[in-house]
Amino acid sequence: MKGPRTFCSSPVIQGLVLLVVVLGYAANAFAQEATTIEDAQWFDTNKIWIFLAVLLYSATVVYCIYHARSGKELFIRRIPGLEAVDEAIGRATEMGRSIMYILGLGGVSNVATIASMNILSQVAQKTADYETPLRVPCNDPIVMNVVREMVRTAYLNEGRPDAYNEENIFFLTESQFAYAAGVDGMMVREEPAAVFLQGSFFAESLILAETGNSIGAIQIAGTDKEHQLPFFIAACDYTLIGEELYAASAYLSREPMLLGSLKGQDYGKVMIFGAIVIGVILELFGITWLTTFFQRVN
C-alpha cells in the first residue's frame, strides 16, 4: 500500500546525507589532486542578489507545493495548447493514423527535453488507452533509452503492455539537418494525424512544422527557444509559449503537488510584474535607484 507522497520523505533526507558524502569525497579527491589551493572566495558576492532571488522564488514554490497538499482546489488558467492534446489524440484514433512525437535536439540534461518527456509520458498513457500508434524518432541516444523506459511504463500502468512497441521509439541521427530530413520523410510517407513538437528546437523548427502542416496533421508545439516561437505560431495549430512548456506535465496530470508548483510560478511572475510596475512609476518621478540596482545585479 502506498503512503502519502511528500517531498520531505526519505529520498530528500537520504539525498542530504549523500550530499555530505559526495562533498567529503570530492574535497578529499581535490586535496589529493591540487597541491596548492588558491585563496579564492567560497561565495561570489557579485551574485548575492541573484542567489537571494532564486532562494525567495524557490521558497515560494515549495510553500505552494506544501499548501497544495492540503487538498484545497487551485485555480489554474486554461492553456489551449494543452486542452488540445486530447483532441489531437482523439483525431488520430478516429482516423486510424499514428501520432508523431518529436522531442527536439536537446540532450537529456536539457530542462526543456525533460519537460517534453514529461508531456510524452502523459500522451503515452492516452495512446495506450486508445491503442493509437505513437512514433518517437530520437536525436539523442540517451534520450531514446529514457523515452523507451518511460513509454513502456506508461503502457504498463494503463494495463496495456501488449500495445507497447519498442520499435516505434528509435534513434534516427545526431545530425541536425539529417534528423530534419528523416523526420520530414517519415511525415510525408506515414502521414501522422497529429504531430507534437515539444522540446529544444533550432533552425529545423520550421522545416518540421511546415512539413507537418503540409500533410494536414494537427500540430501542438512548444519550445524554450524564443527565436523559434514565431515559426511554430505561424505553422502549428497550438503553441505552448514560454513557461507553458514547463507547466504542461502538471496541467495534464492534475496532480495537486505539481499544480502547487504552478501556482508558485505564477506568484513569481506577480513579483516580477510588481517590480516592473514600481520601477516604471519611480522612473516617471525621476527616482532611479531601483533601475540602477537591477542594472548592477545584471
Binding site: 520523505s9 526519505s10 529520498p11 537520504q14 539525498g15 542530504l16 549523500l18 550530499l19 562533498l23 570530492a26 574535497a27 581535490f30 591540487a34 588558491e38 579564492a40 567560497w42 561570489d44 522564488y57 507545493i65 540534461s109 530542462v111 519537460a115 518527456m117 514529461n118 509520458s121 502523459q122 530520437c138 541516444p141 540517451i142 531514446m144 533509452n145 529514457v146 523506459e149 518511460m150 513502456r152 500502468n157 534513434f171 541536425q176 539529417a178 510517407r189 520550421l206 522545416i207 512544422a209 511546415e210 524554450d224 524564443e226 515559426f231 505560431i233 505561424a234 505553422a235 514560454g242 513557461e243 506535465s249 496532480e255 505539481l258 508548483s261 504552478l262 510560478q265 511572475k269 516580477i272
Partner: protein, 216 residues
Amino acid sequence: MRRQVPLILCFAFGIVMALTEFSPHRFSQWLNKEVIDWTLVIGPFALVLAIATLIQTHWTRIRRRSEYWQYSFLVFIGMIVMVVIGIPLGQRHPVFVWLFRYVQVPMDATMFSLLAFFIASAAYRAFRARTLEATLLLAAALIVMIGNAPVGDLIWNTIIPFGDNLPSAARQWILDNPNLSARRGIILGISLGVISQSIRIILGIERSYLGGVEGD
C-alpha cells in the same frame, strides 16, 4: 529501491551543481567540471545502444519488406562506407574529408536552404490580415522588411522630403521596443519555469523521467 536511489542521487547532485554556480572557488569549479565530465562518460554507452537500435530497425524493415524498405539500404551503405573509411584511415584522411565536405555538407546545406521557402509559405499564411492581431503582425513585418533592405531607405529618401532613413529607424524602434519587451517577457517566464521544474525534479515530485508516470 529502484526509485529511491535515482531520487537520492538527483537531489544530492542537483543541490551541489546549483551551489557551484554561486561559488568561484577552485574547488567548486573543479567539482562542477568533474561532474559534467562524468555525464560525458554515459554518452558512448548510449550511442552503442542507439546504433544497435538503428541497425535493428532498418534490418527489420528490409527483412519484412516494409513499405519503402529500399531506403534502409541507403542507411546501411552510408554507415558502412563512413565506418570502413573513417576507422582505419582516420577522420583527417582525404577520402573521409572529401565525403564529409562534398556529400554530407551539401546535403545539410540543401535541407537548410529549404528554410527560405518554408519561411515564405509560413509568412504568407501568418500575414493574412483576417484579425486585428494578424494585421498588426503584417504591418510590423512590412516595416521591418522594408527597413532591413537598404533600398527601402533609398526609395523613402528619394520620394518623401522629410524623415531621413525613416524605414530603418522605424525597424530599429520595433526591434528595440515592442519586440524586445515581448522577448524579455517570454524569457522571464521560461526562466521561472526552468527553476520551478528543477525544484520539482530535485525534490522528487516530478518523476516521469525516471521511467514511470505520476502517481505510481
